[in-house]
């Protein structure tokens, strides 16, 4: 076994330095070493998307990365969005449209949605479904998730139009 190494990452705006084994997965690092248990693990083989986080602005599967690959990176997890008392607009949309049941897939869905919203206008629902197709949900049948993302995208597009006008 190789010796532990020090990894420095910025997670949700906080700098962390931890000594980790080279084989430690990013998902385990977030959950066990940093106590950020909002990121969930549903398969550990890159299929379910429950472990999705943003690394330097791109959505990634934290179960497929090693913590040491993240040295110097900027990571965003569900804990960096809103709080229970002040939900982020995407979280609010999920709440209003009943886009979660057991909530296990939800952090991954939210992070994927954030990434999609930043990068694509999501003009129609097909785009949303396509964009979410890497995240499995076993409870909702996706319909209300699509509605929630639709609302979040529409809000953002209105905002953008308003800004362009003003």
């Amino acid at each position: 076994m190789t010796e532990p190494v020090i990894v420095r990452v910025n997670v949700n705006g906080v700098e962390y330095a931890r000594r980790v084994e080279p084989r430690l997965l990013l998902s385990d690092f977030l959950r066990n070493d940093l106590g950020l248990t909002g990121t969930h693990v549903g398969c550990e083989h890159g299929v379910c998307g429950a472990c999705t986080v943003l690394v330097n602005g791109d959505s990634v599967r934290s179960c497929l990365l090693l913590a040491i690959q993240l040295d110097g990176a900027k990571v965003e997890t569900v804990e960096g969005l809103g709080t229970a008392q002040a939900l982020h607009s995407v979280q609010k949309a999920f709440h209003e449209h009943h886009a979660l049941q057991c909530g296990f897939c939800t952090p991954g869905m939210l992070m994927t949605t954030i990434d999609l919203l930043r990068k694509s206008p999501l003009a129609n629902d097909e785009d949303i479904r396509e964009g979410l197709s890497g995240n499995l949900c076993r409870c909702t049948g996706y319909q209300n998730i699509v509605r929630a993302v639709r609302q979040a995208a529409d809000q953002l597009n209105t905002l953008a139009t308003d800004e362009a006008i003003s």
Partner: protein
């Protein structure tokens, strides 16, 4: 207060109107669970960490069927970070658990934490390694050396039923773990003389529940008190508590089983598992907290699986299309063990029980055998048996309609039990209370514009396109009371549920239940019921569930029971607490009880501004000396148990529209409509969500999901790459229509509905696919119907134009 003053009369009328106005039950209240789950603050078992916690990894059998000749754990024990390595030898003092039943011809297999002497499926736990971290435990697994003597694999259930087959459980003397027969009238004679007969050998392959959260167990032990707490991702913490009490000879007061936030269940978390027994054993033996978190491979290999039935069935009708007889022979491939507490045959027995469905069929003969094979046990999966029974009966209906040249809707409406014909006993003995069969079917067709769809189909067919419309109707028993066993012959009573409601000295309301939520939003819906009957506010009511210590007898959530049973208990307890509130307030506000109204967490004298909040009232009752005379003072609490005795039903009609690509054979669902009756709705938003999710799983079962074991008994679909569940691009828009026909047999008129989506969807999709390819002369008798299966069916029908594919000609 005997004078009937006009003012007071008006006031009580007002009070009455206020009390009867629907306010909370029936509203799409947003879920109180959401804020924590949306912000990553949920508390799933794996999120829990305690000091000194150890981690388990299991060395599982890589043989389908073999004797364990020797186990060498020496090297593993010496490995880095390893604290202990246990085999079945070490667990001798733990009692085996048996899923007993009053059924005749039934053998209950022993359930133990680790395999004893023999393994019976690939993935069965044999050795448990406990180490400082999961990584280190997994490292040491490799060092465990197990010598096996392979035995013949037992994979094909029909072969396994033969006396010549190798036996999985020698003590049972057979692999047929159970056989039963249901009979009404003389089906054989009626079939022999019938004008029209349709039949088939139907196959619904094995699937797996695949909750997104894998099973996870954490046992915490307090040596000083010999107290064990098991945190488990389970739907049935109460049942697990009782089973562990038997396994360890421990009183329930020292055993607590908690299901915190649970990431989906669908039946896969409704049984006792060997890993639960092991984790509890290890924590007690080592005096430390021990956690096991399943990975997805283990989940796909060792969580209870569903379906896997072969049904040979025949439906007979007269020349006008009236069904007169149904005969079915069901073979259930139940896997290696009889799962606790449901028994090995919960699935196949339900298939024969529900085959007659919503139809009047005077003669019925249903036989079932549950056969052990060297695969993981089957157990309850969303819909339990009814997805298969509905698939078979609804396919037979379509096949009959085609033979008779009748529209499938017309044929169904003709054979359904009509609104004025309830209660009705079907051939298997099940009695339907008032069910909305015809109403649901008409509503689904109306919503989908059935005539218009047929017109579109005619056009599509003329253009050579494969466009199909399928319907499926069903009924299920829900909210089952104490007079019916949820599983065949099961001695455990699951027909009652308790609610314990208390207003404490701060005026806060806590309502505790024995049920468990695994995504269905019970914290919200039960708070709605309590709020409605107590006069409280939903947001002020804290619901405790998923904890065996909350009420003396809890089982959990399964069989679409929680809204009906816990909702009923909540109603009774809330009503009693409300009566106590009124008695106390009557004294404190010096008003007649008829003049008091309890609403929004306050009690007021109608028509005045005299009001007490729950907080003020509770302070007066509990804390402020002398406000209420000692002999009038009552604790603001109530514990009530509800038993619907028989329970109720729930029904729906599903309609699917598909188009098949004739080049790739890809089956695209264009539309899906559900018309359902779950009685009085508590929260329409949540009901819709349950339907969407259930239908999505049904679509998965119809088109994609299949657990495949090869001839060596190896699972060749042990990852989510190979075991495919629907994504957002495969599930169409689902329209839901509610027929709120309130149940007359349950308190509040609720009916259970969590499973229904999965019951109707596979049959509706199968019928739609069959309808799309009907011009090619093909029947769909096997699910899931993958593009490859469809291709092969079409090719073979081209090659043997004259073959019947199971039809009688």
């Amino acid at each position: 207060m005997t004078e009937a003053l006009p003012k007071s009369a008006t006031a009580s009328r007002e009070a009455e109107e206020l009390a009867t106005r629907p306010k909370i039950v029936g509203a799409s209240v947003k879920r109180t669970e959401d804020p924590r789950l949306l912000t990553g603050k949920g508390a799933y078992v794996d999120d829990r960490k305690v000091p000194g916690m150890l981690h388990v990894a299991f060395r599982r059998s890589d043989h389908s069927h073999a004797l364990i000749k020797a186990i060498d754990c020496g090297a593993a024990r010496d490995a880095d970070g390893v604290v202990a390595v246990f085999t079945a030898e070490d667990m001798r003092e733990v009692n085996a658990v048996f899923a007993t039943s009053r059924m005749k011809n039934y053998y209950a297999t022993p359930i133990t934490g680790l395999a004893i002497g023999k393994v019976r499926y690939v993935g069965e736990p044999v050795v448990g390694v406990i180490a400082q971290s999961r990584y280190l435990a997994e490292d040491a697994l490799e060092l465990v050396d197990i010598t096996y003597e392979p035995l013949p694999v037992v994979i094909d259930p029909e072969e396994a039923a033969k006396p010549s087959s190798a036996l999985l459980h020698e003590e049972a003397n057979t692999n047929v773990l159970c056989s039963r027969e249901f009979k009404t009238g003389d089906a054989e004679a009626a079939i022999a003389s019938a004008a029209v007969r349709v039949s088939g050998r139907f196959r619904f392959h094995r699937k797996t529940p695949t909750a997104m959260e894998n099973r996870t167990y954490l046992a915490e032990y307090e040596p000083g008190r010999d107290e064990l707490t098991l945190y488990t991702s389970s739907q049935v913490p109460g049942i697990i508590r009782d089973a562990l009490s038997d396994a360890f000879d421990m009183p329930g007061s020292q055993l607590r089983v908690v299901a915190p936030d649970v990431g989906g269940g669908f039946g896969g978390k409704a049984s006792l598992y060997p890993e639960e027994i092991f984790v509890a054993f290890a924590a007690r033996r080592l005096g430390r907290a021990v956690k096991w978190t399943s990975d997805r491979m283990e989940d796909l290999a060792a969580t209870s699986q569903g379906f896997d039935q072969i049904v040979n069935a025949e439906l007979a009708l007269d020349a006008e299309g009236n069904a007169i007889a149904l005969r079915a022979e069901v073979i259930g491939d139940v896997g290696a063990y009889s799962i606790y507490p449901w028994t090995a045959v919960i699935e196949p027995v339900q298939v024969v029980s529900f085959l007659p469905g919503p139809y009047k069929i005077a003669n019925y003969l249903g036989r079932v055998r549950g056969i052990a094979t060297s695969k993981p046990p089957t157990g309850p999966y969303r819909g339990v048996g009814r997805p298969t029974s509905t698939f078979v009966t609804e396919r037979l209906m379509d096949m009959a309609a085609q033979r008779l040249g009748m529209d499938p809707i017309t044929l169904r409406l003709r054979n359904m039990i009509q609104p004025d014909e309830f209660p009705h006993r079907i051939g298997s003995g099940i009695i339907w209370d008032q069910c909305a069969f015809t109403e649901c079917l008409n509503a689904a067709c109306g919503k989908a514009d059935y005539q218009e769809l047929r017109a579109r189909q005619a056009e599509a067919r003329a253009a050579g396109r494969w466009f199909g419309i399928g319907v499926a109707c069903y009924a299920e028993l829900t909210g089952i009371g104490s007079r019916i066993s949820v599983a065949p012959g099961m001695p455990i009573n699951t027909g009652t549920e308790t609610a314990k409601i208390a207003i404490d000295s701060t005026g806060a309301v806590t309502a505790a239940f024995g049920v468990t939520a695994m995504g269905q939003g019970l914290e919200t819906t039960l708070a709605q019921v309590v709020a409605e009957h107590l006069g409280g506010r939903v947001e002020d009511i804290r619901v405790i569930q998923g904890d065996s210590a909350a009420v003396p007898n809890a089982t959990g959530s399964y069989a679409s029971r929680s809204a009906v049973l816990a909702g009923g208990a909540a109603t009774l307890a809330a009503q009693e607490v409300k009566e106590k509130i009124i008695r106390a307030a009557s004294h404190l506000l010096e008003a007649a009880s008829e003049d008091l109204v309890v609403e929004d967490g306050k009690v007021s004298v109608v028509g005045t501004d005299r009001t007490l909040t729950f907080r003020q009232l509770a302070r007066a009752v509990y804390l402020e000396m002398g406000r209420i005379p000692a002999d009038k003072r009552e604790e603001l609490t109530s514990t009530k148990t509800y038993d619907p005795v028989f329970g109720t039903s729930a029904t729906a009609a599903h309609l699917a529209v598909v188009e098949i690509n004739p080049d790739t054979y890809e089956i695209k669902l264009e539309r899906f409509v559900v018309a359902e009756d779950c009685g009085r709705l508590i929260n329409p938003m949540i009901v819709d969500g349950q339907v969407h999710g259930g239908v999505a799983q049904g679509i998965g079962a119809a088109l994609y999901e299949e657990v495949v074991y090869n001839d060596e008994g190896q699972n060749v679909t042990a990852s989510l790459v190979d075991y495919v569940i629907p994504t957002a691009t495969e599930v169409p828009l689902i329209d839901v229509v509610h027929i709120e026909a309130e149940s007359v047999t349950t308190l509040n008129g609720f009916r259970g509905m969590g499973e229904g989506g999965t019951i109707g969807a596979p049959a509706a999709v199968a019928n739609a696919v069959a309808d799309a390819v009907a011009p090619l002369g093909i029947d769909i008798l096997e699910l899931p119907i993958s593009p490859e299966r469809l291709f092969r069916l079409i090719e073979s029908s081209k090659n043997h134009k004259d073959s019947s594919h199971g039809h009688e000609t």
